[in-house]
């Protein structure tokens, strides 16, 4: 079983759109057996908007416990204030106040309190879901607002995706990764078989791609690059290719800027429709509808073929 992670560092390069399209193509690829999809962007998960999942299962995600205060026991002695390094405990007119948003759940105040007035309470920090999509089962999640531990939730999503993949004897998990290079990305990246970086020819795109590449290198993960909207600025595109060449990074695809892609998205559709219907009983339409039966569709199909060759 292989795991493909699609990331971008910078947002808005087209990562989720490409993942959605690869999901459609994977379903149509005979070599790929029962692909499983995982949305590891737990902070602002969007993949479900193009894949229209029907949620089958919803589970609570418990983050770290958080400090709570028993007012009856608290005598406002204030011993908890200096030991909190996250400025989550303050005193207002001599009354202790806990800020659950700043609390990181370390529990130091709980241990210091001489009157056992602080409790560590379970905290639902988000939810994760298992859903059915026309392109295979999908695991996705929703982190609560202002929550920590996105990395831990990403681990949960990946664990569940792997479990489903094993049950189905699947040979591919496609993951939509979080932005940035911090804790959720690290959780999403460790141990995958291929990281596809979707970048764009902008000064910010190339800058973020380089940081992401260095992160992946540190984890010893194989990297391939896709330059999306490559014709937006041919010089910067050439710079990206130059960087990839110099670092021996495989450029798996180049996709032109296409306003119809944006338009398709505003309608909430994947930009390529399936060639053949997989569900039993559905007939194969003679027109084989591709919403983009041209260069953009071909460019993404080529990208997909190269990824498959790289993986297997």
């Amino acid at each position: 079983m292989k795991e493909l992670l699609v990331v971008s560092g910078k947002g808005g390069t087209g990562k989720t759109t490409i993942v959605g399209t690869l999901a459609v193509l994977a379903k149509d690829t005979p070599l790929i057996r029962n692909p499983v999809l995982a949305d590891c962007d737990v902070d602002a998960a969007d993949l479900h908007l193009i894949l229209n999942p029907a949620t089958k299962e919803s589970k609570e995600f418990f983050g770290l416990k958080k400090a709570g205060l028993d007012r009856d026991k608290c005598d406002n002695c204030g011993e908890c204030i200096p030991v909190c390094r996250f400025d989550a405990i303050t005193s207002h007119n001599g009354i202790i106040r806990l800020d659950p948003i700043s609390c990181e759940g370390c529990g130091v105040c709980y241990r210091v309190c001489p009157r056992q007035a602080i409790t560590m309470e379970d905290f639902i920090a988000g939810h994760w879901f298992v859903s059915d999509t026309p392109y295979g089962p999908m695991v996705h999640a929703r982190l609560g607002i202002a929550e920590e531990n996105s990395g831990k939730l990403v681990m949960e999503v990946r664990r569940e995706a792997r479990r489903i993949a094993e049950t189905l004897e699947s040979n591919l998990i496609i993951s939509d990764g979080p932005p940035g290079i911090g804790c959720p990305v690290i959780s999403a990246m460790t141990g995958v078989d291929l990281v596809l970086i979707v970048t764009e020819p902008t000064v910010a795109g190339i800058h973020d791609m380089e940081r992401l590449y260095n992160l992946a290198k540190g984890f010893d993960v194989e990297v391939a690059v896709c330059i999306n909207k490559y014709d937006l600025d041919s010089e910067t595109s050439a710079d990206i290719e130059g960087f990839c060449h110099a670092h021996n990074i495989y450029v798996a695809g180049k996709i032109a800027f296409d306003e119809r892609v944006v338009k398709a998205l505003t309608r909430g559709e994947p930009i390529i429709m399936p060639r053949r219907r997989m569900s039993s009983g559905a007939q194969r339409t003679s027109s084989d509808p591709h919403s983009l039966p041209d260069t953009t569709a071909r460019a993404i199909e080529e990208l997909w073929t190269k990824i498959v060759v790289r993986l297997y």
């Binding site: 971008s8 560092g9 910078k10 947002g11 808005g12 390069t13 902070d43 602002a44 969007d46 908007l49 770290l64 416990k65 030991v83 390094r85 996250f86 948003i101 990181e104 759940g105 370390c106 529990g107 130091v108 241990r111 210091v112 982190l143 607002i145 202002a146 929550e147 920590e148 996105s150 990395g151 979080p178 932005p179 940035g180 290079i181 911090g182 804790c183 959720p184 990305v185 690290i186 764009e200 020819p201 902008t202 000064v203 910010a204 800058h207 973020d208 940081r211 260095n214 992160l215 540190g218 909207k229 937006l232 600025d233 910067t236 800027f257 944006v262 338009k263 998205l265 505003t266 909430g268």
Partner: protein, 285 residues
């Protein structure tokens, strides 16, 4: 006055809005720009500051003195982050998991644990024309962004007295974003008229409401024909303070690291109106 520029979804034009707004505000105010998108700081690509100083951001991590340690195992029990693990005769530490809460050091009965600063990133500062620029950069491989965001916000070396602080926040709604928006006087949420943009805007709205920061929306790439976004803002009574049309020329300008207000007079006008709207909303005018 502190103005945070945030967005649920990445790539909606948050940095573009923050940079052009900062330049516009600098015409009438003394502006400090704080790039708190420390995982991928990009504003410097457009503001091109002359950096003149930098300092390391560290978190205190535990170091165990094997001679003093009596293998009681309490440190492992205390640590909520699994960053210290007593294992037989050894005590293993995982500094990348440590949040620097100091619990293990505080509770060790034999004082066998001391703290050492571990570098997780840097902050850098300098001038970009009239604007004082501060940015944070998370070290590659380090997972912990919020302490760097806090360091950027707290930075005061060389910093002149400013009337306006613009914070370029990271995307999303999780801890580093909260650190960037908390205690701001106003928050601009940048979005785009697509289902992704709307979905993530709703999350961002929930966040700023929870943080009780007054806010308004900027719609970037307006005119894509997705009406649900405007309908949502109307239904929720959220002020749309500016719209920047979808235009390939703007995308090209951004791609090269250009500033929209320098190249397009109509955008300059939009940002002057936005400046006015924010100052009014915040009760400054």
């Amino acid at each position: 006055m502190i103005i945070s520029v945030a967005s649920g979804k990445g790539g909606t034009g948050k940095t573009t809005v923050a940079v052009n707004l900062a330049l516009t505000l600098a015409e009438t105010e003394s502006v400090c720009f704080l790039d708190c998108d420390v995982e991928e700081p990009n504003a410097h690509l457009f503001l091109k500051p002359e950096l003149k100083g930098s300092s390391k951001v560290t978190v205190p991590v535990p170091v165990v003195d094997e001679k003093k340690c009596n293998r009681c195992g309490l440190c492992g029990e205390v640590c909520a982050f699994n960053a210290i693990l007593p294992l037989g005769e050894d005590v293993l530490t995982f500094h990348e998991l440590c949040h620097g809460c100091g619990g293990c050091t505080l509770f060790c009965p034999t004082n066998a644990i001391r703290e050492e600063p571990q570098e997780i990133g840097v902050i850098e500062w300098g001038n970009s024309g009239e604007i004082f620029h501060v940015q944070g950069k998370l070290n590659i491989g380090s997972p912990l962004a919020p302490p760097i965001v806090k360091a950027v916000r707290a930075h005061n070396v060389d910093r002149p007295q400013c009337t306006v602080y613009i914070i370029d926040a990271p995307p999303g709604t999780s801890c580093p974003v909260v650190s960037s928006v908390m205690n701001a006087d106003f928050c601009l949420l940048v979005t785009e008229p697509t289902p992704f943009g709307l979905h993530d805007l709703k999350l961002a709205v929930d966040m700023v409401r929870e943080l009780k920061v007054p806010f308004g929306v900027v719609i970037n790439r307006a005119g894509l024909g997705y009406e649900d976004l405007a309908d949502y803002c109307k239904a929720e009574n959220i002020p749309v303070l500016a719209e920047i049309p979808f235009d390939r020329r703007y995308a090209k300008c951004y791609a090269k690291g250009g500033r929209l207000i320098d190249e397009f007079p109509e955008i300059k006008k939009t940002f002057r109106e936005l400046r006015q709207a924010i100052l009014v909303s915040a009760g400054r005018v």
